[in-house]
Symmetry: D2
Subunit: 304 residues, 4 copies
């Protein structure tokens, strides 16, 4: 399979969508990213690799970080994690408070904001140096010591983060947050602010694509079964209110972020990352989803 050629073909085919959607602009740091960018990178478990366009430009990974966070929490807490957060698709917009309230403070899954805030709280309670430990884990799984937080982005998010502040206050009201609210919010936004390129993300997610490889990075270990279960959660919950649509069109587990990045994996085959800042109404990258849809169509290889 000539992945380099496939990616280049995909890039040509999706050109008609290059001006659709608009980038996230709720914080100045994201609004000032030039919108007409596109990068894509793929790594197979056998060492093949393909990258096109701005595959080396770093961007804010935002909610893609929630996969790293889930990996850490599952490693630390095991199945006890599931008493703090569910694993069912949310069925509503990613920022809905309604559903959170119905469930009395237990978020539906780890990839909605409420769930990620609970995971931030868990890490704060269980790590010695949460900020350093988290970054070390992401660097280890990426085999890249230059990956870092963008503190400006994190601070900018906090200043405008009224919805997340509402959610964490509601969780605290329900008694499901142990730490100080500002600490939880700060740590949450910091994790979201990590910047990586498509090439770096794709390489990092090989750890999830190949459950036969030992998962042990900076002391964070997962069993083969746990790796597969993280993939299952990506499949059912990775795309907010569009998880079903993504499963239908692309057929791979994945996770998107409002920075315009999407990662997806084909278990025991490859991991892939794509980035383009213009988002659809559900908050997912327009060209990113198109590119991944074409990838599984061209390779005739979804998981289904």
């Amino acid at each position: 399979m000539d992945y380099q050629q496939i990616l280049e073909n995909i890039y040509q085919t999706i050109q008609p969508y290059s001006k659709q959607g608009k980038q996230a602009d709720y914080i100045p740091e994201l609004a000032k990213v030039y919108p007409d960018q596109f990068g894509m990178s793929l790594h197979t478990i056998y060492g093949e690799t393909a990258s096109i366009e701005q595959a080396d430009t770093r961007f804010s990974i935002q909610s893609i970080s929630k996969v790293f966070t889930l990996a850490m929490c599952l490693s630390i807490k095991g199945d006890d994690l599931w008493s703090r957060v569910g694993k069912e698709p949310s069925g509503t917009a990613f920022n809905s408070l309604v559903q959170l309230e119905v469930e009395k403070g237990v978020p539906r899954n780890p990839f909605i904001n409420a769930g990620a805030l609970v995971m931030a709280d868990i890490l704060l309670s269980n790590l010695k140096n949460p900020e350093a430990d988290y970054l070390n884990f992401v660097r280890a799984v990426s085999a890249n010591e230059t990956i870092d937080y963008n503190v400006n982005v994190a601070n900018s998010e906090r200043e405008n983060g009224f919805l997340n502040a509402a959610i964490v206050n509601l969780l605290k009201y329900h008694g499901t947050i142990e730490n100080n609210i500002e600490d939880v919010l700060h740590f949450y936004f910091l994790m979201c602010s990590i910047e990586m390129s498509c090439r770096e993300l794709s390489l990092a997610f090989l750890a999830f694509a190949n459950h036969r490889r030992k998962f042990d990075y900076a002391g964070i270990t997962l069993t083969s079964s746990q790796v597969k279960r993280i993939n299952a959660i990506m499949q059912t919950c990775g795309f907010y209110d569009e998880a079903g649509e993504f499963a239908y069109l692309v057929g791979l587990p994945g996770k998107s972020g409002v920075g315009g990045g999407i990662v997806a994996i084909h278990p025991l085959q490859y991991s892939v990352a794509v980035w383009s800042p213009r988002l659809n109404s559900k908050g997912n990258s327009v060209m990113g989803i198109k590119a991944l849809e074409l990838l599984t169509t061209e390779t005739k290889a979804s998981i289904f």
Copy 2:
């Protein structure tokens, strides 16, 4: 892989759960089924087969029929189908009217009752002899002319079917039902009343497990891509409020019914059907889910 041995081992292992849960009793016909039954059957795409216990006892397939219905609707309407019904997980109990109302008459997906009622309406509008045509299709995909409706079960369901009657009236109010309400309900309950054994179901679902085989039964054709997309919907929406849990524990696309049956498929590997009438609080067979969880654990082969 010695599937016969694996199934027999599974059966021994799940014995401690044999009295957990209770069978559906909302209609007399289901209540009088002897609860302590269990059957399981598996067919690989290469022709291997394994069956244990009551694998040849027929039971009411109930909501498993929705997969056949979706196949027919997708064949007839193509992607136009998705203007009538969504494909996102519901995020609520399978019988919730709340979510239906929020969406102004467009059900969230084809596997909640509202979605299946819309599909019944579509078939009534598009088939010459809906009851005969549907049965012919199910018989063809099963390669078994003895499969039939159980009219007693269907009538019994209608007599107590106030919730489904509420749903279809609400859909009609929103203008999304073309046919007479009683006709839609009658046809819907008839489809649910089909009786099949585990062996028959497992064999029939090979059609979904092997997207490389031509899907053409009694004039109902699907492309390879459409077959895979039906699997995607089973993955994200096949287990009501427990779709995430099933994806997490089992990692296969599947569909359950309140009769206690579950089918699941491992694409390009096998299809499997399991049946045991005792249900958990979410309406899925207790032993059925346990058996499938063990199957993917033992074979080390989920889709993730």
Copy 3:
């Protein structure tokens, strides 16, 4: 107080609103009413009376009938009635199923459709000849033997009554309806179909305006306290999603119907009925509400 002059002044003042809103058109019988009509009639408890314009034209009283129904149910069941229906304002549109579902089959109050359907069920279970007995009561409280159902309107409502059918099926599912669904719907629509003029309605509602007069009509008796409590429910629940607005603007207990009629009472002072078919977005008569707002402004006499 020269009520005749006050009513005539009001009619002049509200002319600018005469083309605002549109009449109910969900059934042919209501759609064919000429929209530019207006009638108003007032009766004091001392025998004074004033009427203007089409005060003697009969119209479909629709939901105003729910006050008569509540009076009968409260007379028959006493405070036991409140185990079947609540008395809190609904806080949502009058036709919402969401709230009904949340409350597990107990409607929020007797004036939303769900509540009135439960009351219809109660009357069917408790009256010998429900249709005749109900009409006799309305005729007795109105002192007018010519008042009657409009069977054409009732039948037309049933043919299009999918939302009410959804509600009553959902109630039946929750076990809170004793009688056959079609019987409940038929009786409910029949009660709504009663036709009365403003003069007739105003006179009939004197029974509620004057709790010092014995309430005993066709064998239906209420204590002084019960009459006042019916008024309290009119105050908090009489105008669907606009109960607060009506209390704020008008400051009288009252009840509206989609036929364009509104009745209101000033306890121990007067009853008043107004009718104009054009409705606002909440389903209440535009000119009717304006007229009543002016009435309490002009007379400087709301209940507050």
Copy 4:
């Protein structure tokens, strides 16, 4: 009417309820109030007065302050106020975020917490010295310069005020809060912390009971019509999820607080305040509601 005797009789009659319910304990300051206290005081517009038991013991007026706040806001903004907050009953528990979200940041009415937080924001934007000005108004309408905030209570509320913090963050997210979140919360809790006795509250609420008296206190003026409309809102929204029940049982406009206080008024007759810390499940004083129900039964004089 011998009000002193009536109040004494009421106190005897409600003794069987003296141990029902439990006091608010979500903050230490409220939890340490001795629960078995009761006070009641009534003032007619003609100068008659009656008081029993601990009528002179001050308590935390909590949500009763929202009536003073509404009076100030309506005086300052006039009917423009209603673009920021609705006037419909909420139909749900007083602390629900669900309904707030549905309405896109416009709270249903001024007496739910969300509505009062919006009013706090309005006062912060429109008053020169909000804390001093508000206190001056309450002192003026009460004709009592000793009334004051309890800063300990206010601070204690803020420390545990996660739900209110969630609400105000959600409002800010929707763009309906102008000021800093902490400033809004601080001012809101301060207003709630005012301490008054039954005698003081009853006297203060004469200003709302007698709309024929000029309403002009510390520069805050209301028209006769505005006073009546505040009463209308008390009637429809004053008792959280129990507004209909209170209207039904008592039949007077009123407002309750979690400190156990309730005020009610009979327009052009009297104002009354009652206090007892034990609350029912809806957050209203058990003995307080009983006492007021008996008051209108004994005097045969509700507004209906």
